[in-house]
């Protein structure tokens, strides 16, 4: 039966490399609606994944990072902080002109990713590919407490392909400062059909 695999969730992604100016759907943006579209609340979304990554939260929770963010025009920080003991970033929240919202976990971070202009993520494949699929500029922070951890190889490889930048937690401020949101190449999502075909022919050959 040479039927094509069911079509799925490929349709909605325009091949645009530019950082999206799509509005986030939460009401925070209401106040900017009166101004022009380009001055929408520029948002950075930070995610640490299902465990904890205090080194990243702590590295971001400084006055210097707040200054870097406002200098780059960011007005809003949304942070998923996980199981860590650091909790919500208090120092960062004191930065003038920067609104900070933090939560430990959410059932899905899809909306947060889609509403962001820059995603700062741990190196887990889940959030990395979710961000790349949403065509958002991505800065991956590799957890060096897990040195020799295989997550680094994914970040390195995707960096070599030009899809993201990566850094260690200590360097996250500088990496954000140096981040060029227009330079990332869009990721072309893979297609599992090839795997299925190989398996089907393997089963037929028996």
């Amino acid at each position: 039966m040479g039927r094509a695999p069911a079509p799925r969730r490929r349709a909605a992604a325009p091949p645009s490399a530019s950082p999206s100016t799509r509005e986030g759907d939460d009401d925070d943006d209401a106040e900017t609606r009166t101004t022009t579209r380009t001055s929408k609340t520029k948002t950075v979304f930070v995610t640490v994944g299902t465990t904890s990554f205090d080194a990243l939260v702590a590295a971001l929770d400084t006055a210097r990072v707040g200054e870097i963010l406002t200098r780059k025009g960011f007005k809003r920080v949304v942070m998923q902080t996980g199981k860590g003991s650091h909790g919500a970033p208090r120092t960062l929240a004191k930065t003038r002109g920067l609104r900070v919202r933090a939560f430990a976990f959410a059932p899905s971070i899809d909306d947060e990713i889609r509403g962001a202009d820059l995603v700062v993520s741990h190196a887990g494949a889940g959030s990395v590919f979710e961000t790349l699929r949403a065509k958002k500029p991505l800065l991956v922070v590799v957890n060096d407490a897990l040195m020799g951890n295989h997550q680094q190889e994914l970040a390195e490889t995707l960096h070599e392909m030009g899809h993201l930048r990566w850094c260690a937690p200590e360097g996250v401020g500088d990496a954000i400062a140096a981040f060029d949101e227009t330079s990332s190449k869009p990721y072309q999502p893979g297609d599992p059909a090839e795997v299925q075909r190989a398996i089907r022919s393997m089963l037929l050959r028996r």
């Binding site: 039966m1 039927r3 695999p5 069911a6 799925r8 299902t50 887990g124 494949a125 889940g126 590919f129 699929r133 295989h150 997550q151 190889e153 994914l154 390195e156 490889t157 995707l158 999502p189 893979g190 297609d191 599992p192 059909a193 090839e194 795997v195 299925q196 075909r197 190989a198 398996i199 089907r200 393997m202 089963l203 037929l204 028996r206």
Partner: protein, 248 residues
């Protein structure tokens, strides 16, 4: 060379008990457990459905598996059995969501009868205990591994799939070893070639340069008939592995 050091550690600890278990199981299989294979004799042609057992890892592994499953037409790969680890609290809901959307998509197609729909969405969920919890000692984990193997063996024996699909982490190992032991037992009894259980392992997309320990074990032991890697660079280091692009 690193591979061999890793594997040596695994073999030192697990090979003797595994060998004893497999011998025991073969005897058990021969004399006690000789009930008919559920699918019955199969004549493999392209239209026959493929009984599929899908091992879900948890978290990112589960997400990747469902991304891969999108390319497996439900009318060809059914009935489907999902195997979950007993500590995995999130995957069961994802199975329901996936199967519900499969059912909706099929129901929306023209000319699909209720009968077809029932066959093509036929699925079940089985739970297997974890072989080893994080930070468990090697001594107690010997017993939990045997228990996991035993349960996996019963599940695979009862379902007797044509294909086992797995993508790590280590929770899929008992299922794969069980399939291997059953294959060996079956063919020493003169079982039919087309009743062999095929094992396909898809290495995680996160593995761009090195193979996971689970992948190494399944690759070097040849328990997996096919090891898929999602990066060409990794394929270069494992010549028997298959590179067929990325699943997401």
């Amino acid at each position: 060379m690193e591979d061999w050091r890793d594997l040596l550690v695994v073999l030192m600890f697990w090979f003797p008990p595994l060998l004893i278990l497999i011998l025991f199981l073969q005897v058990f299989y021969l004399y006690v457990w000789n009930e008919p294979i559920p699918a019955g004799p199969r004549v493999r042609d392209d239209d026959a459905p493929r009984r599929t057992l899908i091992v879900l890892g948890s978290g990112g592994h589960t997400a990747e598996m469902f991304a891969a499953l999108a390319a497996f037409p439900p009318r060809e790969y059914h009935p489907r059995t999902y195997v979950l680890g007993d500590t995995d609290v999130t995957s069961a809901a994802k199975v329901d969501a996936h199967e519900a959307s499969v059912g909706d998509a099929l129901a929306a197609e023209e000319g699909v009868t209720d009968d077809d729909l029932a066959r093509w969405t036929d699925h079940s969920t089985r739970v297997v205990p974890r072989a080893r919890e994080v930070s468990q000692s090697f001594v107690t984990s010997a017993f939990t591994t045997l228990r996991a193997l035993w349960v996996a063996l019963r599940v695979v024996r009862q379902e007797w799939p044509e294909l086992i699909l797995c993508n790590g982490p280590g929770t899929c190992l008992p299922v794969c070893v069980a399939a291997w032991a059953l294959n060996v037992g079956h063919f020493t009894l003169g079982g039919r070639r087309d009743q062999r259980i095929a094992v396909a392992y898809v290495e995680s997309i996160a593995r761009a340069k090195t193979m996971s320990l689970t992948g190494k074990i399944l690759y070097h032991s040849r328990i997996a008939d096919r090891v898929f890697v999602q990066w060409e660079g990794l394929r270069a280091r494992y010549p028997r592995a298959t590179y067929a692009g990325r699943v997401m």
